[in-house]
Structures are given as structure tokens and as C-alpha cells.
């Protein structure tokens, strides 16, 4: 704990919901990045919780930009800073809708150009800001306002899509493990080129659980193996501590699902699909970590 700086870069406080994982994540992202940082925030919860004009809770420069444009905007900024001889960190902080659906084209372009920036997707698995409509990142079986009977399609594997661009660094993190998140942001910012961080954000109102369970739900996601903490540094995969243990002896997935109202009444087929997807993903990552594929 001692290595994490005491400075806070979000003044008390944003208008995020009580127990918001996005606020928790951003706290540690900015602690790791420090004051010489610019955030690019497309439409998402973070673009509406900053405060009421002319005031903002954010104590670093934030550029609020259209849904589809975050990575493109960051590309320009990164290039401009570089030309001006500045080392300012350019960080995109986008939700899952702005990453896996609407922002994917600009994201792909920026990674293809090897833009020197860090793209962070905080993933609450739906369009939370507009009232929990399903996104490409919503898992199968989850109820949202546009999938009232449970989503019938699987969660899009954005990590594999980004990995196909061969970025310098790609990692997953979770709001329940701030120290792990802090280290990954620091490592990402120490490397050149395009970096991607995918952070699970258990959302109390969206996932329909009580606000004090945010951290507990994040830990359960990792312990059940539905969310795997790993890093891909120059293509080399490492599975991180908490997930290593979870892959040997995972907690029952049912425990994770039962805690969330969005999975209420989920049918067995959807549970089986979630389990087999998680198992396939775990196997693939383990093989990659061992250098088999």
C-alpha cells in the first residue's frame, strides 16, 4: 500500500452513484499517471459525473469528446505533445459501449498507427449512463432494459480484437484490485506505443446489487474465473496472482450470478454457455502463457 501516492486527482467528489466502480478505478488510474496527464473521455458515465459547469471535480485536464472519436482525438493529442517535446500522458477513459461498439473503429485505427497512448475501457457490461441498455460487452443471459429476457448473444472478446493489433501492452484489471490496477497503469505508461487496459467495473444499479458489494462482486468475478487478470507485454502472456489461484480452484460461477439481479431467472443453457466460454478463454490464456499457442 505504501507505494501508492496519497495525492488525489479527483476532488470530492463526482456525482457518480454511491459505490461506483468507475470512480474507484479512475482514482487509481490518476494516482498511477500523476499530474502530467490528459484524459480523453467519450460519452459514458464519466462524461456526466464530472460536476456542474463551470466547476469540475477532475483536477487534471479532461477533454470530453463524441462517442466514436476518443481514440482519434487522443491520436492527435499524442502527436501534438510529441512534436512539442512533452511527455504528457494521454489516456482515453471510455466505457464498454464507447470501446467495443461505437468507438471500435477509432480504437482500431489508433492501434494500427501505434499511437503512443493508453486506452482504458472500464467495462460495466452495458450502457449504464443511459439506463442499462445492452452493449456488445453484455454477457449472455444478463437482463438489461433492451434484453429483458436475458441477452442471447455472447460477450464480445475485445481483448482478442485489440491483441490482434499487436499492441505493446494489453492487460485486464478489476475495480476490486486497486493495487494490481495501479501497477498495470504505471507499467503501461512506462512503455512506448499503444497500450490497452480492460477493467471490469461491477455496477451496483446496472447489475442490480447493493452498493456495498462493488468490491465483493469484483473479487467474486475473478475468483469464479469469469474475469481473468492477465497481462500481454510485447505479446507475452502472464496470468496474474489472483487469477492463477482461481484457475486452479475456481469459486462456483452460480455464486457470482446469484448476487446480481440482472441474472435473476437465468436459464441453465445460458449458465452452461457462460461456463464454457470462461473455460475456453482460461485454457487459451493458459496455453499462451505457457508458450504453446
Amino acid at each position: 500500500m505504501t507505494e501508492i501516492p496519497k495525492e488525489e486527482y479527483i476532488l470530492k467528489c463526482t456525482s457518480a452513484c454511491a459505490g461506483c466502480p468507475s470512480s474507484l478505478i479512475l482514482r487509481y488510474v490518476l494516482k498511477a499517471a500523476g499530474p502530467d496527464t490528459v484524459l480523453v473521455v467519450p460519452a459514458c458515465c464519466t462524461s456526466v459525473i464530472q460536476g456542474i459547469y463551470p466547476n469540475t471535480a477532475m483536477n487534471v485536464p479532461v477533454y470530453n469528446v463524441a462517442f466514436a472519436a476518443a481514440a482519434a482525438c487522443a491520436s492527435g493529442m499524442s502527436e501534438a505533445f510529441s512534436k512539442a517535446g512533452k511527455k504528457t500522458n494521454v489516456i482515453v477513459y471510455a466505457g464498454d459501449g464507447g470501446t467495443v461498439d461505437i468507438g471500435i473503429q477509432a480504437l482500431s485505427g489508433a492501434f494500427e498507427r501505434e499511437t503512443d497512448f493508453l486506452y482504458i475501457c472500464y467495462d460495466n457490461e452495458a450502457y449504464g449512463n443511459t439506463g442499462m441498455q445492452r452493449s456488445g460487452s453484455t454477457p449472455i443471459g444478463a437482463r438489461t432494459t433492451t434484453t429483458p429476457g436475458g441477452k442471447i448473444h455472447a460477450k464480445k472478446d475485445i481483448d482478442a480484437i485489440v491483441a490482434a493489433h499487436h499492441p505493446t501492452y494489453l492487460a485486464t484489471a478489476c475495480a476490486a484490485y486497486p493495487q494490481d490496477l495501479f501497477k498495470k497503469v504505471q507499467k503501461a505508461l512506462s512503455l512506448p506505443g499503444s497500450k490497452f487496459l480492460h477493467v471490469l467495473a461491477p455496477c451496483p444499479p446496472g447489475w442490480r446489487f447493493s452498493s456495498e458489494k462493488t468490491v465483493a462482486m469484483g473479487k467474486l468475478a475473478v475468483r469464479s474465473g469469469i474475469w481473468i487478470l492477465f497481462e500481454r507485454e510485447y505479446g507475452k502472456v502472464t496470468i496474474n496472482g489472483p487469477s492463477k489461484a482461481a484457475l486452479v480452484k475456481p469459486a462456483p460461477l452460480e455464486e457470482y450470478l446469484a448476487g446480481q439481479g440482472r441474472f435473476k431467472g437465468i436459464d441453465q443453457n445460458a449458465i452452461d454457455a457462460l461456463k464454457s466460454q470462461a473455460a475456453a478463454r482460461a485454457l487459451h490464456l493458459q496455453r499462451e502463457a505457457e508458450g504453446i499457442c
Partner: protein, 82 residues
């Protein structure tokens, strides 16, 4: 035009008002049981718990993560009377 001002906000504490007014349950710390591990402050989404592990009730939204994650169960959520 000089009359045009960019839509730029400036940092200020309380930019979203005193969010403590949202609170339904207030965290109360039992100092006898607290071993100052600091997990409550680490997990507070709004950084409303300071280094001395005092809760800023002007801004604490009462989410209860601190009480839930306290390994010593030193924090109790008490209903606000307002």
C-alpha cells in the same frame, strides 16, 4: 470573437454539491476494533476517508463498501435520521 468563451470547467471541491446529503446510512467507526489497516480508505470510490481514517460526511454517499470490506468489522452503517 472576444465574447465567445470556451465551455471549460475549472477544478473545485464540491463541483457536484455536498453529496453527503444523498446518504441513507452513515458509516460509524469503532476505534477500539479498528487496526488502521486502511482498506476502507483504499476502497472508498470517492476518497472520502482520509489518512487518519476519518470519514468526510460532507461527501460520503453512504455506499457502505468500507463497512463491507473492513476485516475487523469495525464499521457499522447506521440509518440517518433526516
Amino acid at each position: 470573437m472576444s465574447s465567445c468563451r470556451p465551455a471549460m470547467s475549472r477544478p473545485k471541491e464540491g463541483a457536484s454539491g455536498k453529496t453527503g446529503s444523498w446518504r441513507v446510512f452513515r458509516p460509524v467507526v469503532d476505534r477500539e476494533q479498528c487496526n488502521a489497516c486502511g482498506l476502507c480508505a483504499m476502497y472508498c470510490p470517492d476518497a472520502a476517508i482520509n489518512e487518519d481514517l476519518e470519514v468526510d460526511l460532507d461527501f460520503c454517499k453512504g455506499c457502505g463498501i468500507c463497512a463491507e470490506e473492513c476485516p475487523k468489522k469495525a464499521i457499522t452503517m447506521v440509518r440517518e435520521e433526516h
